[in-house]
């Protein structure tokens, strides 16, 4: 059977997540990105909340991890099942799920990576400086550069559009890696259309100088006439022209020549129409007056695509779009905060780069104008979000938390006396731990939160010290003027331009804002079968939601591949080396040093080095070679190995050369076992010493090499262990998350036992009618339950509880206690905790016999049972955060505000005369839900904001409820006589601690499932076989519950797809003979990889769970807990050698 393959377009956070999930399952992945590096936005971000750290690497595979790279994802990624293509764009997609034809366009680099040694000579001679996009333009880089500071790859790249083709780099390159393609620009025909002669003439002149063919026209009509005669490749047209305007010309020109690249030109203010034009197919626009350089670079870009981009057509089964989002560019809008004009106004991303260790200030925070340390920083929220004037009727969902994080980070980095102020409208702390984090910012870090929107920003002309003056009005109507050294704009998100274009061209539905539109109840399925949307493409998401969505998309792809009859690769079918023989042989060590195009004898006493190393019996010889990174060097080394037949190799070279992947290839080709190849970055070490210090340098290198020789001589080859792994799944909980998870796993071909404690499947969905976007929940549930009940891979256990469980490496054993039936024991390889949650009960102080005060659920059920008749109601009050987001339950339940909006709109639909009041603290209408907030306002719903210190009070009167609150703006008390009051009481998780504990999972402070990492492993527990989804994981909407279930499912399928799991090479073991069974290692193991086998009285290890961290070895005093291949004798010897 054929092996499944998926194309993942976009290699940022979510693209990587999707790709790794599929690759770990055993499918092939083609991962592409249009940029020159993988990692996406997160490459530029050093720290994430709540840890103020990065955790990107936590997404790396945990079992069979030697198939993949095991270093920071910002440095790069390898996986045997993933092919990565950078600088590549997806152009089109045709076909059906299971048989998609995708066309890719890859921009070949002008530098041959197999020849480039990364010496940097080209960069040194390059005379072109451009803004470095990696630092958001805060710094400059050359036109030939290394793609990202963290990247392992040492191959340089040429910025095609910035490069002037001066040829200096081509001349200096020692390996001849740089080759400019012969240019034939004359063939590239450009048409310039403008009614003003000066513009036409000067543009013609500039473009001709670059060697292009240029024709001009003074009107749209003339342009069209010219197009009848000749075929143009590119057209630059003014928008405002008498007669036919540029936009009309664009449409007509495209009719004539679909492939024509059109660039609009417009005066400052008409940017809107330029943006409109782009929606109609223009490639880009230029704002008049413009710099010739900008024009030329744009022309070169188009030319580049035209001339040298090659199309590559691939056959795949499924397509995951993971192009992410872009940040709003304040300078393109009305820009009231003077971004780009006022010094000291930066975007959030720029701020991250400013304070990044690899960024501009190398960690220092200096005012860009005065050079003085920054002492006062303000964050402005909703820049390009919740602003219809910026074409954003939506909330960008993530900026509030990002800004809080940045404020805390700034305080942590630059001292608590730094003044930080956050200006916001609603603080959207929409996750389970977000409110806590906000409080921490407020109370521990003294970040000032001001509920106000800043209208505009000016430089303080009186002070003339670069400080910025922000004017705002407080709730009482008092005007304040505060000055700041630095203002950070929390810029909102926009759909990634290329993705929107791709969607439009390929009939993939988009929403009015240009984001990918997904089908009902799904955030991954696009309108086209076989094409899935991962990450934030379909709407704005933080890291954890993006990761969840990306995993869900991977599940979608997995299902498609399974349905198309495609198979994953069998993981255990890799060759077993004959290691035992190797272990018995005496070590024969070959030491090779790559001189990297330098004369090593200038810096090292090679004679002494060789002499000293030869005294170690196991070391056969020391060799010097050149340019291991080139094909030629590679061959030299292979020959050397052939000749000397070593069984262990020590390789000294540069960092990029010794990165694992290359060494892995070397082992494969030379037959040397990969765990017996040791590497040393000698080039970095040599850089630390001046040439004159030969003895010192030699001594250092000698020590390092001796240490490695010691390591090599004691090291025995270790095979990855293989663990029999059960291929059935247990899903606990029959709500929508449980149903989805079970169906998802079953659809990928694995058996699932679904346990539900009640006699009905459906959980909370059973009492719900419609969603806010008017989808029929019951119909959806019916469909899913039918699907579940008829699925031959699913066994449903109703009225059943799990009683106890035992875990052995590779499987769980769970006892099912059934109501009225004999108990049952099942064996399963993974456990999904989807035990759900429920609406918190209403804490009532009042006697309320007529049930005038209701929870949201009670209200909705009341309407469904016709106990509540909306037409008979005159006034309804809704109280948000009732009993939640306070000391007792200090988290936001995320869904209640949306539910309130839904109910308000429902009431208004049923009875337009009804008066609805919503009393809220922060309106959490995140993402596109903001539109319902606007709609509710439009429909006359009145909103009162209240603060947690003055909660609304209710009083039952005869047949009314009197609600007392305060209008904060009018500063007066308000009393509302309501027919009924609907309380939003929030969500309580329903995951018993004992249950979680049985499966080695933990609960968080609020008794939700505790994620292994709330950002990067959002559905996993620390036990790699246990997952959670739905409400037991965190408060979520139905779509989000479904997505988390799909994510949990792929995480499970990733394990289920293997009959045997292969461990990493570095895993722990126990020497039972010396073990005292103190179980310290069991308690200590963070991955739950160690178990007590009480029958055999020994400690056993799940090698797939073990990550080789060595904590067990550290905690074990007798040395019974060991890391295979890294025993104490070896380590002591290495230390000894290094000290000699």
């Amino acid at each position: 059977m054929a092996i499944g393959k998926t194309l993942v377009a976009g290699a940022g956070l979510s693209g990587i997540r999707s790709a790794l999930d599929l690759a770990e399952t055993g499918y092939k992945v083609l991962l592409i990105d249009q940029s020159d590096h993988i990692g996406g936005l997160l490459c530029q971000l050093d720290n994430q909340f709540p840890t103020s750290k990065c955790g990107y690497c936590r997404m790396l595979p945990m079992f069979d991890r030697d198939r993949s790279s095991q270093h920071c994802l910002r440095k790069g990624l390898f996986h045997e099942n993933i092919e990565i293509l950078l600088s590549t764009q997806l152009m089109s997609v045709e076909g059906e799920p299971g048989d998609l034809k995708v066309t890719l366009k890859q921009n070949p680099s002008l530098i041959d990576p197999s020849l480039c040694t990364g010496c940097g000579e080209c960069e040194r001679v390059c005379s072109v400086f451009v803004d470095d996009p990696f630092n958001e333009g805060l710094t400059k880089r050359k036109a030939v550069y290394l793609p990202s500071p963290q990247s392992f790859s040492n191959a340089y790249t040429i910025d095609y559009t910035a490069c002037t083709r001066c040829g200096e780099c081509e001349k200096i390159c020692p390996t001849g890696a740089i080759k400019f393609i012969d240019q034939d620009r004359e063939k590239f025909k450009i048409l310039v259309v403008d009614d003003e002669k000066i513009v036409r003439d000067s543009m013609k002149e500039w473009l001709k100088e670059e060697g292009f063919s240029v024709a001009t026209a003074d009107s749209g009509q003339k342009a069209l006439e010219l197009m009848d005669d000749r075929l143009f490749n590119m057209m630059l047209t003014d928008i405002k022209m008498p007669g036919m305007d540029g936009v009309e010309l664009l449409a007509k020109a495209k009719e004539k020549n679909e492939d024509l690249c059109v660039i609009m030109m417009t005066a400052y203010a008409a940017v809107d129409s330029a943006v409109d034009a782009m929606k109609q197919g223009a490639l880009d626009y230029l704002t008049k007056p413009f710099d010739p350089d900008v024009l030329i670079s744009m022309a070169l870009k188009v030319y580049h695509e035209f001339e040298i981009a090659e199309a590559r057509v691939e056959q795949v089964d499924a397509l995951i779009l993971a192009g992410g989002t872009q940040f709003y560019k304040p300078e393109l809008g009305k820009n009231p905060y003077g971004y780009g004009v006022l010094p000291g106004v930066v975007t959030g991303m720029e701020f991250e780069r400013l304070i990044s260790g690899t960024g501009l200030g190398k960690g220092k925070l200096i005012h860009p104008k005065t050079g003085k340390p920054v002492r006062k920083i303000a964050w402005f929220q909703c820049v390009g979000s919740r602003d219809v004037q910026a074409d954003a009727g939506f909330c960008s969902s993530v900026c509030c938390m990002i800004s809080i994080k940045e404020a805390i980070l700034a305080k942590e980095k630059y001292g608590q006396d730094l003044e930080t102020t956050l200006f916001y409208m609603d603080m959207r702390t929409i996750g389970k731990s977000f409110d806590e984090y906000r409080l921490k910012a407020q109370e521990e870090n003294q970040v000032r939160f001001v509920r106000a929107r800043i209208h505009s920003l000016d430089e303080d002309l009186k002070k003339k010290d670069g400080s910025l003056l922000a004017r705002y009005v407080d709730l009482q109507g008092n005007i304040h003027e505060d000055d700041f050294d630095l203002v950070v704009l929390a810029t909102g998100q926009r759909p990634a331009k290329q993705m929107t274009e791709l969607a439009v061209k390929n009939d993939i539905g988009i929403n009015p804002w240009g984001f990918i539109e997904t089908t009902p109840f799904s955030i991954i399925k696009t309108s086209r079968a076989g094409i899935l949307s991962g990450g934030s493409l379909s709407g704005l998401k933080d890291i954890s939601d993006s990761v969840t969505c990306a995993s869900a998309a991977a599940l979608g792809a997995c299902k498609i591949m399974h349905e198309a009859g495609k198979q994953p690769i069998d993981a255990h079918a890799i060759d077993m080396d004959d290691l035992t023989i190797l272990a018995r042989e005496n070590p024969r060590i070959l030491t090779v040093l790559c001189s990297c195009d330098k004369d090593l004898s200038q810096t090292l006493d090679l004679e002494k080095l060789k002499l000293d190393l030869d005294r170690i019996p196991e070391n056969q010889s020391v060799e010097i070679m050149d340019k291991f990174c080139t094909d030629e060097g590679w061959k030299t080394l292979a020959d050397m190995i052939q000749k000397t037949n070593p069984n262990r190799l020590i390789l000294g070279a540069c960092l990029p050369c010794i990165q694992k992947q290359r060494v892995k290839e070397l082992s494969k080709e030379s037959g040397l076992h990969s765990s017996l190849v040791e590497t040393l970055d000698i080039i970095s070490i040599l850089k630390q010493y001046p040439d004159s210090q030969i003895p010192k340098t030699t001594q250092r290198i000698e020590r390092e090499l001796k240490a490695l020789i010691s390591k090599a001589r004691f090291k025995n080859p270790v095979p990855g262990e293989r663990l029999e792994s059960n291929q059935n799944a247990l899903v606990i909980g029959g709500g929508i998350a449980g149903i989805t998870a079970a169906l998802s796993i079953a659809d990928c071909g694995y058996h699932v036992d679904l346990v539900e404690k009640d006699d009905a499947i459906g959980g909370n969905l059973l009492w719900m009618d419609k969603t806010v976007d008017n989808l029929d929940i019951q119909a959806y549930l019916d469909e899913k339950v039918k699907e579940l009940e008829s699925h031959n891979q699913v066994t449903i256990h109703k009225k059943t509880k799990t009683e106890s469980t035992a875990q052995n490496p590779g499987e769980f054993l769970t006892f099912l206690k059934k109501d009225g039936e004999p108990d049952e024991t099942i064996l399963h390889g993974v456990t999904l905790l989807a035990t759900g949650g429920s609406q918190a009960p209403l804490m009532k102080d009042n006697e309320d016999p007529q049930q005038k005060e209701l929870t949201q659920k009670e209200f909705e059920m009341g309407v469904q049972d016709h106990k509540i008749d909306p037409e008979k109601l005159e006034t309804v009050v809704m109280i948000q955060c009732s009993g939640t987001r306070d000391e007792k339950r200090n988290y936001c339940s995320r869904v209640c505000c949306i539910r309130a909006l839904k109910n308000a709109l429902f009431l208004k639909d049923k009875n337009s005369d009804i008066q609805v009041y919503i009393l809220y603290r922060d309106m959490m209408s995140y993402g596109f839900y903001e539109e319902y907030y606007t709609e509710a306002k439009n429909r006359g719903v009145i909103f009162f904001q209240y603060d947690s210190a003055n909660k609304p009070l209710t009083q039952i009167q005869e047949d009314k409820v009197l609600v007392k609150t305060r209008d904060l703006l009018l500063d007066m008390p308000v009393e509302i006589e309501a027919d009924c009051v609907i309380h939003a009481t929030g969500i309580l998780p329903d995951l018993p601690a004992e249950l979680a504990d049985q499966y080695g999972a933990d609960l968080d402070t609020f008794h939700f499932f505790k994620e292994a990492d709330s950002k990067f492993r959002p559905v996993d527990s620390m036990n790699y076989r246990v997952f959670s989804c739905g409400l037991s994981l965190k408060p979520c909407t139905i779509e989000e519950a479904v997505a988390s279930a799909e994510a949990a499912a792929i995480r499970a399928v990733r394990i289920l797809s293997h009959e045997r799991l292969v461990s990493g090479k570095m895993v722990a073991d126990t020497r039972t003979a010396t073990c005292s069974m103190c179980e310290m290692c069991v308690d200590t193991c963070p991955y739950g990889a160690r178990f007590v086998d009480s029958l055999e009285e020994k400690i056993v290890i799940d090698p797939a769970a073990c990550q080789g961290c060595g904590v067990c070895a550290a905690v074990c005093p007798s040395g019974s807990a060991v890391l295979e291949g890294l025993d104490r004798r070896l380590m002591l010897d290495v230390i000894d050698m290094a000290l000699l």
């Binding site: 003979a1073 069974m1077 103190c1078 308690d1083 005093p1117 007798s1118 004798r1129 000894d1136």
Partner: protein, 377 residues
């Protein structure tokens, strides 16, 4: 609850023996573990007694402290035996045993822990010498040791572990025999420390007693005096070992006999790493060392051995002093261990031997701890 143990035949020891006899005869207890004077010998060794008649040889209180019985109790309890045993232990023995429970080397399940106010001890060699000379009889010793907190006995120094002990009173037991601050003319007092202990005491039907008034005060005094002695000792030993050279000199007589390790109650490994091939060096290794410095002393790894032990168990050191007792080269191992242990335990906020539910520091992982030491924020 508290009950009273009357003197028997004007003898405190006999009174205690009587109490233990009743205990052993009761249905609650199958065996008793306590120090017994061996026949025709002055040696007093911990013994497991099942015959009530044998209790007559029991010497619950004496300056003899041949080994830390925590280790022995661990052997009696690391698996189920189906029998209930009452064990009498000194405070430092209890602490050692609690540490071993944490390490799954023992269990309280079938035990009744009986604590006793510490009667101090002489070193092994001093005890032998003392017994040869003119030893006090058992009762006189009790009278003497609990009447004043003295550092010497008949010219012999009490073990420095005892003189510097800040916790010579039992905690977290099932019952305790109280001696400090007790008017012996009125007998001795047993206080229950757990539900199980209370039930047993009640079943014995003995007369009730109340807490002696002066006890608290006396306990505080003893703690203060010992604490000062401890400070002085730490200061002294720190001065003696505060550089690697001094440390080398301090341990220069060490012959790698590993006696200190063998007698250490919390060094619980079945097989020590120092007995494995990790320290069975290649011959070339010795030569390389010698070549580097021109000379290498053998055995090697002596200081390394002590440092390793400090790294492994200084957090769990209960301060019993048996390591010094065991040293044939008369190295004051205990003083180094106690000094280091205090720092280690303070760093982790760890109190060894108090609560079996307090996890050993290394088995707990906190993402943010010792930021100033590890340098990672």
């Amino acid at each position: 609850m508290m009950i009273k143990i009357e003197q028997e035949d004007n003898s405190l020891t006999k009174g205690l023996q009587q109490f233990f006899k009743r205990l052993l005869e009761s249905e609650e207890i199958d065996a008793l573990f306590l120090p017994v004077r061996l026949k025709d010998s002055f040696s007093i060794m911990p013994s497991l007694v099942t015959d009530p008649a044998q209790i007559e040889a029991a010497v619950p209180l004496s300056p003899s402290f041949p080994l830390n019985s925590g280790r022995m109790v661990s052997r009696l309890s690391y698996k189920e035996s189906g029998r209930k045993t009452a064990v009498l232990l000194r405070p430092c023995e209890i602490r050692a045993f609690i540490e071993l429970i944490k390490l799954k080397q023992g269990s309280r399940q079938e035990l009744i822990l009986i604590g006793i106010d510490c009667p101090k001890a002489l070193s092994l060699s001093d005890y032998a010498a003392y017994m040869e000379k003119d030893p006090l009889d058992d009762d006189a010793y009790i009278q003497k040791v609990f009447s004043a907190n003295e550092e010497t006995l008949n010219g012999f120094n009490f073990s420095s572990a005892c003189n510097t002990c800040e916790n010579p009173f039992p905690v977290n037991t099932d019952m305790n025999i109280l001696l400090q601050g007790v008017d012996f003319s009125d007998g001795m007092i047993v206080e229950s420390g757990s539900e199980a202990g209370r039930n047993i005491l009640e079943s014995l039907n003995m007369s009730e007693a109340s807490m002696p008034e002066k006890r608290e005060e006396i306990m505080a005094q003893i703690k203060e005096v010992n604490s000062k002695a401890n400070e002085a000792m730490v200061e002294d030993i720190t001065e003696k070992t505060d550089s690697i050279l001094k440390l080398n000199a301090f341990f220069d007589r060490c012959i790698n006999c590993y006696n200190c390790r063998n007698m250490c109650p919390v060094c619980y490994c079945k097989e020590c790493v120092f007995n494995t091939d990790v320290f069975y060096h290649q011959p070339v290794q010795y030569h390389q060392w010698a070549e580097k410095k021109g000379l290498v002393k053998l055995p090697t790894d002596t200081v390394f051995y002590h440092l390793t032990r400090l790294a492994h168990i200084s957090h769990a050191c209960v301060g019993c002093g048996q390591c010094s007792n065991a040293c044939p080269s008369d190295i004051n191992v205990f003083e180094v261990f106690k000094s280091v242990a205090q720092t280690t335990q303070a760093a982790f906020g760890y109190s060894p031997g108090i609560d079996e539910n307090e996890p050993p520091p290394l088995s707990v992982f906190n993402e943010r701890e010792f930021e100033d030491i590890v340098g990672i924020k």
